[in-house]
Assembly symmetry: C2
């Protein structure tokens, strides 16, 4: 049996500081009647030693670019983070906020939400995501250190992760990436408490996590997670290691409570007697939410420890030289380089003049070839589909254990890990990540893509092979519902550009975004240049626009995206030849179109003409544009998919699934006949 | 340099049989001008030894329940499987099919599709899925063996997996489950060729896979994957091991071609000279697709090797005793037990009479408590949310290394692995899996859920905490777009039942399904019983139905699902009090409603009245029902979410996001005013 009294007596200062965390967690969870008491209580010792003796931060400026990052991957233990922020003097996470834990409008949400307070590095809760992010934080630090020198960028990334994080598959993607890239400033504390929601971890797992991490090249230690000296020594050793480091911390969940070492202890401990007994065991004689001033002062002192280092850093930054300094500041601010817009315009002009017939994935590469040289903040990559996603340009260089200046990351066959790492890179600041896979494998990355959207991380997903147009690889590789899935998700701009000009415009918008991730859905197959008349304006920025106007009386509107816009133009030719005035609307980004004012939307989609949508994907979601209040008398047509695809050459599939200009023209004719009846 | 001639000379019979696979792969890929030559060529030796010396199968009956299962997780090497099927005498995969590799209507699709030929055990291509499935195959075998004895069920599950499979996170979930559950009849061949699409695996990985598997309790060997004797000995050792076994096979991708050991070799080798040279190196002097009769006969002999074992097995099955025999046959056929329907009806009656106010997740438990005892084929489980998903009933027993008769699986915090394993259980036959997690974590399982749909595996996903109604855990845990994501996917029935009666009906449909997976989206919070008048018919089977008719002139229709149906009824009360005749339609399953004939749909949703949808989720997709051709004059209302959620008690969130009966009634009033204007 663990002897709390001995722990208390051996390191009384440490004990009391850790007890402040423990009791705040108990009190806040009790007040909310929900939450997770056990993890903050179990990991309070590790957190206290980390913050007191190692973590480089300045509570007065939680956004200091060279601070150490602290990532709570087991985000259900959010009260640990809130307690640390409050105790060290964070200006946003106040005692009132802690008293309002998990209440409407409080910034102390059930799980840490990065957009609610500056001191929260990332949004966690879905398990393993923080660990995935941490790879991105550490990558960003390495790249920026190589770029600006270790006087400007030189910090650690610390992660708390639980059994849940390590059971999730994303953890394997993260740890194998970190091991391979030798991210030696990444230090993970595994909260090895042997308990999950269902009971002991032995119900579902018997993995030796230390061996597992070691198998991917990690430095590994195991310690008693309640022994301050052991914790301190382990962190020191981890910092000295030349590879990422994992410290397995044997801890007792809900330490010192009657629920210690049980699944009950994982959840909300709200029983009054239990809390009273626990506080007594802790030697804590204060009221709810009460922190004696000496303990609070000791914690605030910890919050100020980094002030000197911060000031010194600022001085070094001043000494960087005005050019590099300006670049550093601009990159950290997330501001777009001035040259971007002109670069895009020049490419658009060239494309409109030369009218290449290229796949939009290839057009994307053309854009990146000119954009990457003028945007030093871009960091490209792919989940092992570099040649298919067309994500690697000549000047990037490959980031690896030896070349830290490389701007291209071979993420391996790890879509989820890539997406989570990109979130981390974006959250770190200073860099702008983009990464590629096939659109259908957005499925694998979905957990992290949703978090890009929720956090508003301006990550760019380059999703190629965006329809049955990929051909022979068949239905597992052919997205049909993925555009709907992504469009249904709040705060993602889903671009499906029709030609190289729209691709350039979409990239400009993606790279200028500050709080919305972007998906570029790009074709495998070649498409003609449709925007053959150069326009300096970014038409894609309005989401949808009239690409070809009806001649004569406007009887029909064809709405299409991506590779199907050229089919719409063909159908228009057929219909116009029959005297049916037909407008073609290109809709590269529904979300941006929905944000336009009503008068613009009405101008693009006036009431009256029949409407037919064309997209090599399911109709799900299209009725908003086809049948909306300006819709065509409750009837509309759609040319697309209503099943999974098949394995065959692309052209045959388009015919087989009847996604053709003929089919679109037929639907217009049928609808017009229906109207006349 | 590898000496092909030595390999040929040392084992000429083996060599020629393997060369038949290699040349078929070369010829088929060349004919298709697409596909993957390198993997079939690299793994031909392992496959040949496995099939000749170990795999228990009978080519005459690829559905023999006790056959060994062969899973090609690296499914891009599909020609390996097609070659094996053709060579051993499969009746479906003929030479003509192989000549039509990757062509429209051929069953030899780019990636193996389980629904195209009986000999294809599962659909693979998205990497790691086959490995995930294999855990389910092996689980099913263990459970059925415990149930029916090793004379009836006693087979191995063999898996080919590549670097891609092992880099994907799902592989960790799969291997740690298999290790923990001690699935000793699972044998994985790792095609350790050091090559991925981007280049050498060293670009992205340095994991020691042998150590990694060992860390999760696997038996591990490493062999030369081109040495028949070593392969044979390793398989023998793997079969003898008392835990799952991994054999790392050092192979040369595209062996013997000029693209050997290169990323080019991974893809389609179509160059005539390359193929000519390769065949020469193989000592193969035959024409394209030509297999000399002695080699074909040798392979067909392999296809007949299991016939005797199969006949013996049939005899043992005869001897099983009529009761157990009938149960076995029924379970393998996927037929529902006769008692199911009466059991559901009895529960519905009881619920209608007692009118409990319970969360639909709790109602689901009530259903399972009565259903599990009469359906011995159900296998329950949860990704560590057993108490929240309410998936474990009293009689199931926990499946683990010691209790093979247990019917409940603690999958651990592995949603993706769980879903893939459930696909495997369903594909194995004999058992019907269901498994739980929070609806929002369908994100993590998305890759495997899509494959349930594509394959038509009748898996049931118990997705609880289906809206902001989960409350304080906040936006990471609150699904808003997930219903849309699932509904947009072809061939999934997404049930969102409104009360305990609809839950019972949904379960009946899910358990009766033969070729469609089901999702049950269930509430955390309590809901009243709405179906208080017992009806023997399963109303949910029609997808949507009139729950409450308008009194007086029908001016409005409220359409709602799940926990919001009771809000619709409240709104109806308000509107009726004002004399506005209001119908309430409960829509527990859009997909089934869409399958009804038009006259039924029109009866439920007649033209004329204004329509308002109510669902605590995004509107995306709803316009099909709100604005469709029978819609309300191009205008409709919707009460739901248009952003992510927030962390607060559930009741407060419903008010904050304005998902209330008042809001619904207001929208009806506004729409009616608009109509009058």
């Amino acid at each position: 049996m663990l002897d709390i009294a001995t722990l208390r007596d051996r390191h009384p200062d440490h004990w009391n500081m850790a007890a402040a965390i423990r009791t705040l967690a108990l009190d806040a969870v009790a007040a909310a009647s929900s939450g997770h008491s056990g993890m903050p209580i179990g990991m309070a010792d590790v957190a206290t030693v980390l913050y007191r003796n190692h973590l480089k931060f300045d509570a007065a400026d939680p956004e200091w670019p060279d601070r150490d990052r602290f990532i709570l991957s087991n985000g259900h233990g959010s009260m640990l983070l809130y307690a640390l922020l409050y105790l060290t003097g964070d200006r946003e996470v106040t005692l009132d906020q802690i008293k309002n834990f998990r209440q409407l409008h409080a910034i102390t949400a059930g799980h840490p939400e990065s957009f609610l307070a500056k001191g929260i590095e990332t949004t966690t809760g879905p398990l393993g995501q923080g660990l995935g992010n941490s790879v991105g934080f550490a990558l960003a630090e390495e790249i920026l250190r190589a770029r600006f020198g270790s006087k400007i960028m030189n910090h650690n990334t610390y992660v708390f992760a639980g059994d849940g994080c390590l059971m999730e598959g994303i953890s394997q993607e993260a740890l194998s990436m970190a091991g391979h890239k030798r991210l030696s400033k990444l230090i993970v504390f595994f909260d090895d408490n042997g308990i999950t929601i269902d009971g002991g971890t032995s119900l579902a797992d018997s993995t030796d996590q230390k061996k597992r991490f070691a198998a991917s090249g990690w430095h590994v230690q195991e310690i008693d997670g309640h022994d301050p000296e052991a914790i301190d020594a382990a962190i020191t050793a981890a910092k000295a290691a030349n590879r990422p480091s994992m410290i397995a911390c044997k801890t007792h969940i809900a330490l010192g409570t009657s629920a210690q070492d049980t699944a009950k202890g994982h959840g909300a401990l709200t029983d009054e007697q239990l809390i009273k007994d626990a506080k007594e065991a802790y030697g804590w004689s204060y009221g709810p939410f009460e922190i004696p001033s000496d303990i609070k002062q000791a914690w605030e002192e910890v919050g100020r420890q980094g002030a000197k280092a911060h000031a010194d850093w600022k001085e070094r930054l001043e000494g960087l030289g005005s050019g590099r300094r300006a670049t550093f500041d601009r990159m950290m601010s997330g501001e777009v380089p001035k040259k971007l817009s002109a670069t895009i315009r020049a490419l658009k002009k060239q494309v409109s003049e030369t009218e290449p017939k290229v796949a939009t994935r290839k057009a994307s590469e053309m854009v990146l070839e000119v954009v990457n040289p003028v945007t030093p903040e871009t960091v490209g990559g792919s989940a092992d589909l570099t040649g298919s996603n067309n994500t690697k340009t000549a000047d990037l260089g490959v980031f690896d254990a030896k070349n830290r200046k490389g701007r291209y990351i071979h993420y391996g066959i790890r879509e989820h890990g890539m997406a989570a790492a990109m979130n981390g890179i974006a959250l770190h600041g200073g860099l702008r990540p983009y990464g590629g896979t096939f659109l259908t494998f957005s499925d694998y990355a979905r957990g992290a893509i949703r978090l890009s959207a929720l956090m508003g991380s301006p990550v760019t997903y380059v999703m190629t092979h965006d329809s049955i147009g990929l051909g022979e690889d068949g239905p597992t590789h052919q997205p049909v519902e993925h555009l709907a899935m992504l469009r249904a998700t709040p705060n993602i701009n889903v671009f499906r550009p029709a030609d190289a000009v729209e691709v350039a415009e979409a990239w400009e918008l993606a790279l200028s975004s500050t709080s919305t991730p972007s998906v570029l859905a790009l074709s495998r197959q070649g498409v003609p240049t449709l925007r053959t008349k150069h326009r300096t304006n970014n038409l894609t920025s309005r989401g949808a626009y009239v690409l070809a106007e009806a001649e004569g009386k406007r009887q029909a509107i064809l709405l299409a995206t991506g590779s199907e816009v050229s089919l719409a133009l063909e159908a228009r030719d057929m219909l116009q030849a029959e005297g049916i005035g037909t407008r073609v609307v290109s809709m590269p980004c529904w979300e941006l179109f929905a944000q336009q004012d009503e008068s613009y939307r009405r101008k693009v989609l006036p009431a009256g003409p029949v409407r037919v949508g064309i997209e090599a994907a399911v109709r799900f979601g299209w009725d908003e544009w086809l049948l909306g209040e300006r819709g065509s008398r409750g009837k509309a047509g759609f040319v697309g998919m209503n099943s999974f695809g098949a394995s065959a050459p692309a052209e045959e599939l388009y015919k087989y699934f009847n996604i053709t200009a003929d089919a679109a023209a037929d639907q217009v004719r049928d609808l017009l006949l229906g109207h006349k009846r």
